[in-house]
C-alpha cells in the first residue's frame, strides 16, 4: 500500500536530542490537534445536514488538516493512519464495501461505535470521498441509509482523529522523548528517535513522487489518471503540495538551523505546480499536461534530495541495513 521508503539510520555517536521535542511541539502534536478539530467540525456538520453538497467544503478542510501529519507512520499512526487514508485501493475494496453496506442497509452503518470495527477500506477520508464525490454514491437523499452512513463515517473519523491525538500526546510523544531510556524498546538511543522522524520526512516525499504522482502518470502510452489520489475530490495536486509543505515544516523542526536550500526547492515546487492545469490530474492524456506533471514529480525528488543534503547528510544518515536489501 503506502510505500515504505528507505529507513534512515543515524550513525553519529553524539546525542542529537535537539529537534525531537521541537518536532513534537512545533509540528506533530498541533497537527493531530488540528485534524481532530477539523474532523469534529465535519462530523458536526453532517449531524446538521448529511447530504453531499452540504459537506464538501468541510471535507476539504479536514483533508487539508490531515496532510500536516498524514504521512507520519509511527506510533499510533503506524496502523492508525491506514484507517484514515486507505489508499491506494488497487483492488477496489472501498467502493465494494460501501456498496455492500448500502445494498444490505447494514446496521453497522448506523452505529458509529460499531463502525470502528468495520473494514478500514470503508473508513476515513477515501471512503468519504466516494460518498461525497463518487458518481455512484453522492446523489443520496436526506433521510436515506447512505445519509446516515455518512453521519456514521464522519463520527467514526472524528473519533479516530481524537484517538490519534490522544495516542500521540499521552502515549507516543513520551516514548520519543525518553529515547535511550531504560525499558524503551522502540528507541534504544536518542539518535534513533531523531532518525525515525527524519525518515518520516523522506518517506513522505518518496510516496508523493512514486505513488501520488507515479501512479497516475503510469507510462507514456498508458497514463492512469483515475489512479490519482483524491481525484474525485479534485485535490490530487493540492495533496502533493500540502504533503510537501508538511515534509519541509517537519524538516525545519528537526534542523539545528535554517534550511534555505530546502525552502528554495519548495518554492520552486509551488511555482511548477502552479502550471498544472487540472487539480485532479484527469488530463494526463494530453502530452503537454503530462510533461508538466513529470516536472512536478522531478521537483518533489529534488526537494527530497535537497533535504537529504541539507539536513540528513550533515547528521550522517544512511539507508537501513535489512530493509534496503531483501533476502
Amino acid at each position: 500500500m503506502i510505500l515504505r521508503a528507505t529507513l534512515c539510520l543515524l550513525c553519529l555517536a553524539s546525542p542529537l536530542r535537539a529537534g525531537v521535542p521541537e518536532a513534537l511541539t512545533g509540528h506533530i502534536l498541533p497537527g493531530y490537534a488540528g485534524f481532530a478539530e477539523a474532523a469534529g467540525d465535519l462530523a458536526e456538520a453532517a449531524r446538521q445536514d448529511c447530504t453531499a453538497p452540504a459537506l464538501r467544503a468541510r471535507y476539504q478542510l479536514a483533508f487539508d488538516a490531515w496532510t500536516v501529519v498524514g504521512d507520519i507512520r509511527m506510533g499510533p499512526s503506524e496502523t492508525g493512519a491506514l484507517a484514515v487514508v486507505f489508499w491506494p485501493d488497487a483492488r477496489g475494496f472501498t467502493p465494494r464495501t460501501l456498496q455492500g453496506f448500502i445494498a444490505d442497509q447494514a446496521p453497522v452503518g448506523r452505529d458509529p461505535a460499531a463502525y470502528a470495527e468495520a473494514s478500514i477500506a470503508a473508513r476515513g477520508l477515501f471512503a468519504l470521498e466516494q460518498m461525497l464525490y463518487g458518481a455512484e454514491f453522492a446523489g443520496y437523499a436526506p433521510g436515506s441509509y447512505a445519509c446516515a452512513l455518512v453521519q456514521t463515517m464522519t463520527a467514526d473519523m472524528a473519533a479516530q482523529a481524537q484517538a490519534l491525538q490522544d495516542g500521540w500526546r499521552d502515549g507516543f510523544a513520551p516514548v520519543l522523548l525518553s529515547a535511550g531510556g531504560p525499558g524503551n524498546a522502540s528507541f534504544l538511543s536518542e539518535t534513533e528517535a531523531m532518525a525515525a522522524l527524519y525518515t518520516q520526512v523522506m518517506s513522505s516525499l518518496e510516496v508523493t513522487a512514486d505513488t501520488r504522482l507515479g501512479r497516475p502518470l503510469g507510462s507514456f502510452d498508458r497514463p492512469r489518471p483515475t489512479r490519482a489520489e483524491a481525484w474525485r475530490a479534485g485535490r490530487s495536486l493540492r495533496n502533493v503540495l500540502l504533503y510537501a509543505r508538511a515534509a519541509r515544516d517537519l524538516a525545519v523542526m528537526l534542523a539545528p538551523g535554517p534550511l534555505p536550500q530546502t525552502d528554495a526547492a519548495l518554492a520552486r515546487l509551488e511555482e511548477l505546480a502552479g502550471r498544472v492545469s487540472d487539480p485532479g490530474l484527469q488530463d494526463l492524456d494530453d502530452p503537454a499536461a503530462r510533461l508538466r506533471l513529470e516536472i512536478v514529480q522531478q521537483q518533489v525528488r529534488t526537494l527530497r534530495d535537497t533535504i537529504g543534503a541539507e539536513l540528513g547528510a550533515p547528521l550522517g544518515l544512511s539507508a537501513g541495513f535489512n530493509s534496503a536489501d531483501g533476502d
Binding site: 500500500m1 503506502i2 510505500l3 515504505r4 529507513l7 539510520l9 550513525c11 507512520r73 509511527m74 506510533g75 503506524e78 496502523t79 492508525g80 491506514l82 484507517a83 491506494p88 485501493d89 488497487a90 483492488r91 473494514s119 478500514i120 477500506a121 525499558g183 524503551n184 524498546a185 522502540s186 534504544l188 538511543s189 534513533e192 532518525a195 525515525a196 525518515t199 537501513g320 541495513f321 535489512n322 530493509s323 531483501g326 533476502d327
Partner: protein, 362 residues
C-alpha cells in the same frame, strides 16, 4: 566483550585439539552476522542475554547460515551471487574451509547439518533456469562435496533438518532469476512450494499454495520439535494486496495461513524476513524489516499482536519468548506482547539469528 586477541590467547591451548566443541567458544546461545561501524563484517557469538562472547571478522557480508550441532563451527554464506561459503572456527576465529559452489550453481544463503553432524546440506540453485538443488558435503572429510539432489522447485531459500533427523524441509521460493543480473523472470507463473525430502533426495511431500497465493514466495522456515513447520513468505504480486505472510504445516495435514488484520498486514509491506517459534513453542512470529514490525501468532494460526521496531529482522526462540535483532544494533527480548531492550551493539545485525545447539527446535 572479550577482544578477539585476548580471546584467542586464552584459547590457544584448547584450539590445538581438532574439532573443538561449543564450550571452547564460550557456549554461545546464538550466532549472528553483522556489519561493524567501519564497514567490515563480523560473525558474533551471543549469550541468551544478548552479551557478546566473540566477534570474528568475515571477508564480506554474509549470512550466519547454520551451526554444527557439536563442533564450534558455523557456515557463513556469501551474499549474492553466492559462489562460496565459509566454515568458521568459532573458537579459534579462523576460516577452516572455503566451500565453492559447483560450476553453474550458487548458494542461496542457508544450510543445515545432519543430526550427527557428519553431513552439511546447502541450499543452491542452478544459475541457468534456477532449478533448486541440495548440495551434500562430508564434514569429517574436510567438507568435501559428495553429492546433491533436486529440491523439486525453483529458487530454494532456507532448508532445515526435520526433527526426525531423517528428512529435510526446503522452502522453494519459486522465483526464476536471470543468471547474470538476478532479474525475476517468472513472477506471473511462479509456483513456490514446501518440499519434504529424504536425505538421499527422495520426495516425501510437496505442498503448494492455492493459485491466488502463488506469488507468495516461500523463503524462511521455523520448526517445532513435533514436526510443525512455520514458513514465512514474501509477496511478489500487486502491492497493497496484504496477503498472509506466514503459514503453518505438518506433513500429511493442510496448510494453515496466519492472517493479521488488514492494517497490520499493510504495515508489513508484503514481506517477512525471518520466522521463529517462541521458547515455549506455543506461538510463532515473523519480522518485517520493511515495515519495522513483528507479528505474533498462536500455533493455531490466530493473530496475537504486533511489536514495532525499526529495521527488525533477526528472530530466534528464547527461553522467555523471542530474541529479535535489527539493523540499528538492537537486541530485543520479546516476551508475549512486551518488548524490552537487552542491549544495543555498535553493529548492524544481518537478517538472521542462528540458534546454537541442535537445529533450533522450539
Amino acid at each position: 566483550m572479550t577482544t578477539r586477541r585476548g580471546f584467542l590467547a586464552t584459547l590457544l591451548a584448547a584450539s590445538a585439539a581438532p574439532a573443538t566443541g561449543w564450550a571452547a567458544a564460550g557456549d554461545p546461545a546464538y550466532l549472528a552476522a553483522a556489519k561493524d561501524p567501519q564497514g567490515g563484517f563480523v560473525l558474533a557469538g551471543l549469550q541468551a542475554d544478548g552479551a557478546e562472547l566473540f566477534r570474528i571478522p568475515l571477508p564480506a557480508r554474509g549470512h550466519a547460515g547454520c551451526a554444527h550441532p557439536r563442533r564450534a563451527e558455523a557456515v557463513g554464506f556469501a551474499r549474492r551471487p553466492g559462489t562460496y561459503a565459509l566454515v568458521i572456527d568459532c573458537a579459534g576465529g579462523s576460516v577452516l574451509h572455503r566451500l565453492a559452489a559447483p560450476e553453474g550453481h550458487s548458494f542461496n544463503g542457508h544450510g543445515a547439518y545432519s543430526a550427527d553432524g557428519t553431513r552439511l546440506f546447502t541450499s543452491e540453485q542452478v544459475a541457468e533456469g534456477s532449478a533448486g538443488r541440495v548440495g551434500v558435503w562430508d564434514v569429517a572429510a574436510g567438507y568435501r562435496r559428495i553429492g546433491g539432489f533436486a529440491t523439486q522447485g525453483l529458487g530454494p531459500h532456507e532448508l532445515r533438518l526435520m526433527p526426525d533427523g531423517a528428512s529435510l524441509v526446503v522452502a522453494n521460493g519459486g522465483i526464476q532469476t536471470d543468471a547474470f543480473d538476478r532479474t525475476m523472470l517468472n513472477i506471473e507463473t511462479m509456483r513456490p512450494s514446501l518440499a519434504y525430502l529424504g536425505l538421499e533426495g527422495d520426495l516425501l511431500d510437496l505442498v503448494e499454495l492455492e493459485p491466488d497465493l502463488r506469488q507468495n514466495s516461500i523463503r524462511h522456515l521455523a520448526l517445532r520439535g513435533d514436526g510443525l513447520v512455520g514458513f514465512a513468505m514474501q509477496w511478489q504480486g500487486e502491492p497493497g494486496a496484504a496477503p498472509p505472510l506466514l503459514g503453518l504445516h505438518r506433513r500429511g495435514g493442510a496448510v494453515t495461513l496466519c492472517q493479521a488484520p488488514l492494517a497490520e498486514e499493510l504495515v508489513m509491506d508484503g514481506y517477512a524476513g525471518s520466522v521463529a517459534f517462541d521458547g515455549s513453542g506455543t506461538e510463532i512470529a515473523i519480522t518485517s524489516p520493511r515495515g519495522g514490525r513483528l507479528h505474533r501468532f498462536a500455533d493455531t494460526g490466530a493473530y496475537l499482536g504486533a511489536v514495532s521496531r525499526a529495521d527488525v529482522c533477526g528472530l530466534a526462540a528464547h527461553a522467555q519468548g523471542y530474541l529479535a535483532s535489527d539493523g540499528l544494533g538492537g537486541l530485543l527480548l520479546v516476551e508475549a506482547a512486551q518488548a524490552r531492550p537487552l542491549r544495543r551493539a555498535g553493529l548492524s545485525w544481518d537478517n538472521h539469528i542462528v540458534p546454537v545447539g541442535g537445529q533450533g527446535h522450539a
